[in-house]
Symmetry: C2
């Protein structure tokens, strides 16, 4: 096994990403094994390539009590030893989670807002996170278990805009790297880390998959993690292409006026089912019509064809509706 930074970073691909790392990289570091190893490998590789300095960002979620202070201290010490600047912030996630709220989802939202703020303040084009091939495989399985279509199988993106309205992109240099490779690299280089502080946002479902299901599947195929990660990558290409077809159809056929959006029924019916399904999903997911889910798409398809469906209506959540009129499907806001 090789222990170079190049061997655990996806460098062939990283070199093809425009602006990486020269346009500035904020590394999200929890203090755990994966992110401390990412920091070590990126720092080594950037040094070899005379790239500008990385910036280290650490968020204390306010969930780990005294251990959190030690996490933050290790991250800051490591950054200082590397001669890098760092930003440490503290959030109070338990306080932010309203009753019935999802702790994981809130923690994620606050963490990414912090990373975005940090990158924008520094004018950095990238936020690097340490998601691994093992995380990818678990995410694919989790989506499969909860119910998904091709869109869900795309799982974790190797590179994507951090959010609408910012030029910052999230990049995952470890998405093709297995946990085993990371452990070996960390041992070889004496990478310091603390018991992974991100474990707190592993849901019970993910833990169950990691500790009970994946070992069982590895009995059948020791390479199952790679197989699932490869599926995610191909699904991403397929889904992106199909979505482009749907978007291009929408640009040509959707008519908007006064908070209404109308789609021509005959043209919808002429579409191949995979494109029609995605057109309805895309319309449904636009900001004004956020509430249409898969079961709504199925219901809408029911009123597309029959002439006796004219006048019929599918209720979406939030008081929105879709009505079939003579030759169009009309989406209205509440």
């Amino acid at each position: 096994m090789k222990f170079t930074a190049e061997s655990i970073l996806n460098v062939t691909w990283l070199r093809q990403v425009a602006g990486f790392p020269s346009a500035g990289v904020v590394v999200a570091v929890s203090g755990g094994l994966d992110s401390m190893t990412l920091l070590h490998a990126l720092h080594t590789w950037c040094g070899d390539n005379r790239a500008p300095d990385l910036h280290v960002a650490h968020l204390d979620h306010g969930l780990r009590g005294a251990a959190a202070a030690a996490d933050a201290q290790l991250v800051a010490e490591t950054a200082a030893q590397m001669g890098l600047d760092w930003t440490v912030e503290r959030a109070d996630i338990p306080h932010l989670v309203t009753s019935g709220g999802n702790l994981e989802a809130v923690a994620r939202q606050v963490r990414y807002a912090f990373l975005r703020r940090t990158a924008e303040r520094l004018g950095a084009a990238f936020v690097a996170t340490a998601h691994t091939k093992s995380d990818q495989a678990e995410t694919v399985l989790l989506r499969l278990v909860r119910g998904t279509s091709l869109a869900g199988l795309t799982a974790i993106a190797p590179l994507r805009p951090l959010a609408a309205g910012t030029p910052v992109q999230v990049i995952r240099p470890f998405l093709n790297t297995s946990r085993r490779q990371i452990v070996a690299y960390a041992q070889h280089h004496g990478v310091r880390f603390r018991e992974d502080a991100t474990n707190h946002d592993l849901s019970r479902a993910r833990n169950r998959l990691r500790h009970r299901v994946l070992p069982e599947l590895e009995q059948l195929n020791p390479q199952v993690g790679s197989a699932l990660a490869r599926l995610a990558a191909q699904a991403r290409e397929d889904q992106q292409y199909l979505m482009e077809m749907a978007q291009s159809w929408l640009e040509r056929h959707a008519r908007r006026a006064g908070g209404r959006l109308a789609l021509p029924v005959m043209e919808l019916l002429a579409l191949p089912p995979p494109i029609r399904r995605r057109v309805l999903h895309a319309v449904a997911q636009q900001a004004e019509y956020p509430a249409v889910a898969s079961r709504h798409v199925a219901a809408i398809e029911q009123i597309l064809l029959p002439t006796d469906a004219i006048g019929k209506c599918v209720e979406l959540t939030g008081g929105r509706q879709v009505r079939r009129i003579a030759d169009a499907l009309v989406f209205t806001q509440a």
Copy 2:
């Protein structure tokens, strides 16, 4: 729970299948729970709809010794009681499996050849098999574990040509029916069956998924079987559409002459990656070039772009090769 034939057969869909059941149906019956229940439900439903008689087909694989005779007897008795004709044949699968051959694969091949022969002899348009939603979910998981792309997720087809060169189609009326529904129906109607003789062709991998992995996943989502079956159905639509795009491109761009097939490189490069991948797969899978697998597709893509790849060659199995010449990719036979 309802116990009518309509409630466990996918009748809304069956009614849309041209020629079913009026064009003749051979029911594949092993004597096990699933297929004996399928026979009972189809017989009831066809009787209610004044359809022509079903024909019952049973193959003794020569794998179960004395038990096989009892299987065949139960199937024949049941058919006779229903007033249906039946065909029972005996194969010697162990004798047909050469050393190192795959018993399951050979058994499947012999069984489908028998079903095809029986349907063609009777002029029946359909062979009905008792694959269930549970089989579908297991097949999706099995493909995922072994490594698959979208094509593999399509899993078991609800309706497909039995083989090239025959008009007979295989139909699966239980593909949306869970094992639980089948058990309930069989108990309610006193359907007789024998310990499923098809269990012998369940691979160890499938048994492991059924008994160890799926129960674990059901802890996370009791409806995981339905979720996987729905994914298979959507994957089938997506994959079919993408394959049609690839086939249509091939018809317009492939040039054939003297056992060679040439694809224009510039046009290949202009294709969206999901279509390009499928074009290469489709060429590879045609009878003359059967040996190109996913890794070959990846290797071929490597010699598409760089000008210094001109003259380079990817070796396929069986002595076949693909060579990049100036402006084309040329597939040659051994």
